[in-house]
Amino acid sequence: MTTISPIKIKKEIQPKEQHDIKKSVYLTKQLNLWYGDKHALKNIDLDIKEHEVTAIIGPSGCGKSTYIKTLNRMVELVPTVKTSGEILYRERNIFDSNYAVEELRTKVGMVFQKPNPFPKSIYDNVAYGPRIHGIKNKKILDEIVEKSLRGAAIWDEVKDRLNENAYSISGGQQQRICIARALAIEPDVILMDEPTSALDPISTLKIEELVQELKKDYSIIIVTHNMQQAARISDKTAFFLNGEVIEYDDTDVIFSNPSDKRTEDYISGRFG
């Protein structure tokens, strides 16, 4: 590359804030993952900060969903999975033999691609987690349900129909019910695996705005195929390709001047 040293650089796009002072919520060190013989994640190093939205982008099969499902150890449901390396959640390795997976999943909620409410009332969907955790008092449950539905920006739309089946509302509303269900157990992190890919543009924008609100209280990691969505809502973006992290930087940098040509080719739609 040509160097042009004597010329003064006037300005370049800088990180908006000091990320270094933020604590890490997840620190991934040299993570490798195999499905049988298939090496799906290769030497992943990622430092994910709290109260930020971290977007994970990359073409199909690049390992982004595998990675996010490793963060709450959901990936272990696949029988042939092997891992090496470490994922520290709040400084504790989630692969430690004495780390209870239930404890991890209480702290780390997940929202999936298609809204997947239970075939129950709106109220029971949101109260499901707290009930499992032993909360039976109706007044406390009412409070949790209202707070969670408010947090998911859907309270006003459903407050008069809490006993209706969650399937009776629109897809965008169902997805926000699922977010409310995740919030009800007061998690620390919310993982979102393409949460808007089945939604119309208006519902998508509502979820995007909600994500911006939620990051004040939660750390959010979102897998998305929608490049503009990653650009709009995330603070940091990680670009995955063939199981590797090619580039991880401030979203402003990734979408204006990425350092790796493969990142640039992907975000500008030249492959994938």
Partner: protein
């Protein structure tokens, strides 16, 4: 094979139009100075008429870029290229306007003998036009080193400009009857100096396009 063939085709066609407007503007500038030197009022009138085409082309480029931004959601280099295209087209359109101004001065001066300072203005013209052609080449080749040399030429134009203005002011004292031409020539030298500045601006835009950072070539 690129998966964005249509977009790439549109980007290339915007680039071709940009090169087109650039050549038209620089040719207009040269033609206007030649008309001044040879007292060719007809050529000066042609410059004024042809500027309509340059202005039209700038609008076409802007419209095309706006559509591409609206429809293709460009990012990173693609987005910088489109923004830079708009800015360079605007710089070149401005150079075309200077050609028109010079053509108007030519018509005002008419058949009157030109003061000897015209030689230095001619030198400024040669440098400014060389800079503009070089920056067009640098753009086509995306060659930032070539763009950097332009800044050095700009220093020479600035020096000549200072010198011409001093001499014209001095001539004003000696030949008060030539005051009108002195004023016209001072304007013409100013247009040359500005044209060279636009070449430098364009060189900076090329740096921004290629490097993604803002560089100051004027300091």
């Amino acid at each position: 094979m690129s998966v964005r063939e249509k977009f790439d085709y549109e980007l290339n066609s915007a680039q071709d139009q940009l090169i087109g407007i650039s050549k038209m503007a620089v040719e207009a500038l040269s033609k206007s100075v030649k008309a001044l030197l040879t007292h060719d009022v007809d050529a000066a009138l042609e410059v004024i008429e042809d500027d309509v085409e340059i202005n039209k082309l700038e609008e076409e480029i802007n419209d095309q870029v706006i559509l591409m931004i609206a429809k293709q959601s460009p990012v990173a280099t693609d987005l910088r290229r489109l923004i830079v295209t708009i800015k360079v087209a605007s710089d070149m359109e401005r150079v075309g306007d200077y050609a028109v101004n010079i053509a108007k001065e030519t018509i005002r001066i008419g058949k009157e003998d030109l003061l000897p300072q015209i030689r230095q203005i001619e030198q400024m013209h040669d440098l400014a036009v060389a800079m503009l052609y070089q920056v067009i080449d640098a753009f086509v080749e995306e060659d930032v080193l070539k763009a950097k040399e332009i800044a050095e030429l700009d220093d020479q134009v600035d020096e000549l400009y200072g010198d011409v203005i001093r001499k014209l002011m001095h001539a004003g004292g000696e030949h008060p009857e030539k005051l009108s031409q002195i004023t016209q020539l001072a304007f013409v030298s100013r247009y040359m100096e500005r044209s060279a500045d636009h070449a430098t601006n364009i060189a900076e835009q090329l740096f921004y396009l290629v490097k993604g950072r803002h560089y100051d070539l004027n300091s």
